[in-house]
Symmetry: C2
Subunit: 172 residues, 2 copies
């Protein structure tokens, strides 16, 4: 006999609930450390590896001196934000009993190259980042707005970008 | 007859110089816009696509309710930082005539899950991020230290993380 488990949005919300319960029993469980190791491959090519997953390639466009073989780091940053928001919508929708038919997030950011190229001092990074979220669901507008509010209030990558984070870069 | 062009560190530093020249002639050329589109794939799986490159998959560990098929968004963020720093070392080393034998960047960040899981208000993102850089090169310690100084002063992803960036997330 086969047991079929239908999970709303294919999300294992029980696992999330178990983790929340474990943290309530022992708050230190919430302290997590995440890692990535980047190896330079020549030119502007490199690879980022986390845990046992296949390394993810990175490069720069030809106009920036690269070989244009992969998304570049500032595009990867936007992707990380979009993927983080997607988890947030899927998690909070499932917890609220909202079924999502589809979810797409289009991100863009504007960046002035003067500092990166050594032509000026100052801010080398994004000036602003915009994410436009398209959700297909039969939930009401009020439900979707409340879902959206929760996602924005709890996004790890979103909050990392919106706050000044201490970043240390040290020669080892 | 075959012409062999040996590029230091395999970096096309002429392309970088041409872009810098074009920006000095017309500063508006420095204003760039970068994009990524994220599509939700069910569960906590999604894919981020930039330009014509293959979509890059994202997931969450099982303990966080995912299927653990790919690095998660906060790992991707560290990878983007490491890849960006790698470009910076390769570019500035090449401009300075420094040959790099190898370059590895190990990154980690610590993150408290309370806010992400809705157990507390506040900061859902990284508390701090550390990058440890290992460089193999015959350049002097002074040269490597000056290289390092320039990279940290000009990193687009590094600066984006170290400053509070306006991030708008809107339902489309």
């Amino acid at each position: 006999m086969t047991t079929t488990i239908n999970k709303l949005n294919s999300v294992d919300i029980e696992a999330v609930g178990q983790l929340a319960g474990a943290i309530q029993a022992d708050p230190s469980v919430a302290g997590t450390i995440w890692k990535s190791t980047v190896d330079w491959k020549g030119g502007f090519r490199s690879e980022a590896k986390s845990r046992d997953f296949a390394p993810v390639p990175s490069d720069e466009p030809v106009a920036l001196g690269g070989d244009d073989t992969a998304p570049n780091p500032v595009e990867q940053l936007l992707g990380a934000l979009g993927n983080c928001l997607a988890v947030g919508y899927a998690a909070n929708a499932t917890a609220a009993g909202i079924e999502l038919q589809s979810l797409r997030i289009e991100l863009e950011g504007d960046l002035d190259l003067h500092t990166f190229l050594g032509l000026a001092d100052g801010h080398a990074g994004y000036e602003t980042i915009q994410a436009r979220v398209s959700i297909e669901s039969e939930a009401s507008a009020d439900e979707i707005n409340e879902l959206h509010r929760k996602v924005v209030a709890t996004s790890p990558v979103g909050h990392t970008l919106q706050r000044a984070i201490p970043v240390s870069v040290d020669l080892g």
